[in-house]
Amino acid sequence: MKKLLQFLSFAAGGALLCAIAMLLSYDFFTSHNRAVPYSYSQFLLEHVGSPRIVIDAGSSSAFGIEPALIEQAFGRPVIDVADNGSIPLDMKIHRIIKYARAGDTLILPWEWVYYTRDIVPQDFTDKTPDEYAAYYASQPFFDRLAFVVQHASLHNLSDAGRLYLRKDLQQVHFARIQSEMSKWPLGDRKDDLRRISYVHEINCADYIEAGGKMVPDVAWAAKQLAKLQTRRKIRVYVTWPAVAGSNCYVMENGRLPIADEARMIFERHGIAVVGEPADSYFSADHMLDTYYHVDSSAAHVRTERLIGRLREAGLQPDAADNKATLWLASEALRKLKSAP
């Protein structure tokens, strides 16, 4: 029995040490790999100072919002850091907690999958060595430990190591940032050329997943955002994603149940929820390659409606003479490049 106990305690110790070694290796590699952010939107989030308006969600808000209109309306720098719906909600929240600064205003038009999905997609995990390294690094120690053990694989670890050894990694990241900056200076990614649908085999309601059951992470997310509001003086506005298609929503008594449930959760935590799903719901002729990607004309209409809703909710134009986002971004990039 004594030997068995000795064996088991050393097994637990060996397991813990091994897990920590893997975590430290992953931390070491990814922190080097993200020294220059992978994308322009991540660069904006890390390097443009507050006060600013930050739009964060999945790709629906990379296509479906015109940040320039918001910047014009509120006289503040606006950065659109929306990227991909495959990013788990808790990762989104951890990144916001890490990079949101006092004085920032957050606009969160999360896709419905954020409310209904509770998985870590393989696609997301496979990009944590590089593209999504900032998401990984934003997590607290024990969450990173759990992520490494439960989701990351040895392939991810070796990918991170290989990227670490690449001499041109930072140059590649700089080149990407500059290329994206020249095309989409505020971080959005509008591209009306993407008109070929690759979701024609799935109907809109199934694709956007607005009919599922709310996951517990949403309440946790609301609590974290509430803390940001009270402790860091950050204003948070939750709104709804842009969608284009037909029969995308299954309404009950003229209301979308999941939106009402989400509204209740956020409002309970003192977070403003602005607008209705109908404000950003467009006909199928505004759809690009997926139901969550709308064209720029829909984005324009949606943004104007959103600006109105934000004003109604109390967001006021900034009286201060703030610099334009592009100027701030260019300065930040110049500094980053000249940093040792």
């Binding site: 110790g13 060996g14 040490l17 053990v149 040895l154 392939h155 070796s158 190591g161």
Partner: protein, 471 residues
């Protein structure tokens, strides 16, 4: 089923161990062999049930032939006829599944006609279970050995730790152990002897798993990448590629062998080791005493010696030696690259024999380096998709330039770690068999580390099959 999948580590193996221990606790020892037999069949059939009947037919034919030979007078010609017929059956089965396309392609090339590709899938482990059974038959025929229990025989062939990629066990090694399992005085769950086996088995399994997942699988990425672009590799990259495969193959195959021996020890059965630090060999002969030891033993006992061994003239001995390696090469796969690999090793063995016969010797460090370099170069033929690719890679290795490695530089840290383990650390069986105070603690720590590594490795849907599963 692979040893490094969740279905094996979290499902199959715990269930088998649970059933095995339960039978021991309840003193239902008669169930131990059936439990292991059923487990082995499930292990084999998992994922490829269509190939299971081929294995079953092979076992039945060999068992019946063995029974028939046991019942016949050794002097009767019919006994020889049964032996020869079964040998033809075994080799025919192997030839059909493994060499049909190879023969067809070469015949077509010879005749200048279009080759027909037959859609024949190679049954997993066929090379291994065929050799295992040929040895059994040869011993019954030549040495008059007896074996009547079909369950034990079935288990001997299908025993899951070794079934798919060896070690090639000899029935004399395991049958007595299977019989012992049924005896009350053999294996007791709480006994010191079994505890020692558990510690050794856990150690070996964990080391094997870590070797496979942390080194072999990581090197595989570079090897696959390198072999996709052989013509564009420079001198340094070509050398790195060859070294990466040399280490990948060792850590993959010896990792599998360690896991196989370790699993078997947990079940109270000791199967032979397959490796003994082969890259420390100081001659090609020494290498084959340390690499895939059970295959070398099989080839010696059932091919080299029946061919005449060293009983004839010196020339015949060289011929036998060369033929043994040539056929050993062909056993690995139906391709000219394997034939070339076998031929090179055969020629090297002949050369070494002549060298030693002349009383010549090199200082050991030089001999080790030379042997390693030779083995490293010949592995190129073993891995390359064709002879031309292998030759292109060798040409790059023989054309020095000062350019830094561009593609495979990132493999260097792993190669350094691999080299330290291969040349400076005690090998896995030495670690597992160490008789010192911290043995239990070491086994515990290794198994914990292996469990976490396996968990992390299996967080992806990308499979990591063992290289020798292809043979």
């Amino acid at each position: 089923m692979l040893f490094v999948t969740r279905e094996f580590l979290l499902g199959f193996f715990p269930i088998v161990m649970g059933a095995f221990w339960l039978a021991l606790v309840l003193d239902l020892r008669k169930l131990l062999i059936p439990i292991l037999l059923v487990a082995s069949i499930v292990f084999y059939a998992w994922g490829n049930p269509a190939q299971t009947p081929i294995l079953a037919v092979s076992i039945l034919v060999n068992y019946c032939a063995g029974r028939a030979m046991m019942s016949l007078d050794p002097l009767l010609p019919r006994r020889k006829a049964v032996f020869v017929a079964t040998l033809v059956f075994n080799l025919g089965l192997l030839a059909f599944f493994k060499y049909t396309n190879f023969i067809s392609e070469n015949l077509a090339a010879l005749l200048g006609i279009q080759a027909h590709h037959f859609g024949i899938a190679l049954p997993l482990g066929i090379s291994f279970y065929t050799f295992t059974q040929i040895a059994f038959l040869a011993d019954i025929y030549g040495k008059g050995q007896q074996q009547r229990d079909i369950a034990s025989y079935g288990l001997f062939v299908t025993y899951f730790p070794h079934l798919i990629a060896g070690p090639i066990i000899h029935w004399r090694e395991v049958m007595p152990q299977f019989e012992m399992l049924g005896r009350k005085d053999s294996l007791a769950l709480g006994s010191g002897a079994y505890a020692s086996l558990l510690v050794e088995g856990t150690c070996l399994f964990s080391i094997g798993l870590l070797k496979k997942l942390l080194i072999a699988d990581q090197l595989a990425v570079f090897v696959d990448l390198g072999y996709k672009s052989v013509p564009s590799l420079g001198f340094a990259d070509a050398w790195l590629l060859s070294l990466a495969y040399t280490f990948q193959l060792y850590f993959d195959f010896s990792g599998y062998a360690d896991m196989a021996v370790g699993i078997s020890l947990l079940l109270g059965i000791r199967i032979p080791y397959n490796f003994n630090s082969p890259y420390r060999a100081d001659s090609i002969q020494d290498f084959w005493r340390r690499w895939h030891m059970t295959l070398s033993r099989w080839l010696r006992d059932y091919l080299y010696i029946p061919l005449g061994g060293n009983r004839g003239s010196e020339l015949l001995t060289y011929r036998n030696l060369f033929l043994t390696f040539l056929l050993g090469g062909l056993w690995h796969g139906a391709a000219w690259t394997f034939v070339m690999w076998g031929a090179l090793h055969g020629a090297a063995c002949c050369l070494h024999k002549a060298w030693s016969s002349a009383g010549l010797a090199l200082p050991r460090p030089v001999a080790v380096v030379l042997t390693f370099l030779f083995v490293n170069i010949t592995w190129i033929y073993f891995r390359a998709p064709d002879i031309h690719t292998a030759n292109v890679l060798l040409q790059s290795m023989a054309a020095p330039d000062l350019a830094a490695p561009a593609r495979l530089f990132a493999a260097c840290p792993l190669l350094i770690i691999g080299a330290i383990i291969v040349w400076l650390c005690p090998n896995s069986q030495a670690i597992a068999a160490m008789d010192w105070r911290g043995r239990v603690a070491l086994a515990g720590a290794l198994s914990g580390a292996a469990a976490i590594t396996a968990m992390i490795a299996t967080n992806t849907s990308v499979l990591s099959p063992f290289i020798y599963f292809n043979f």
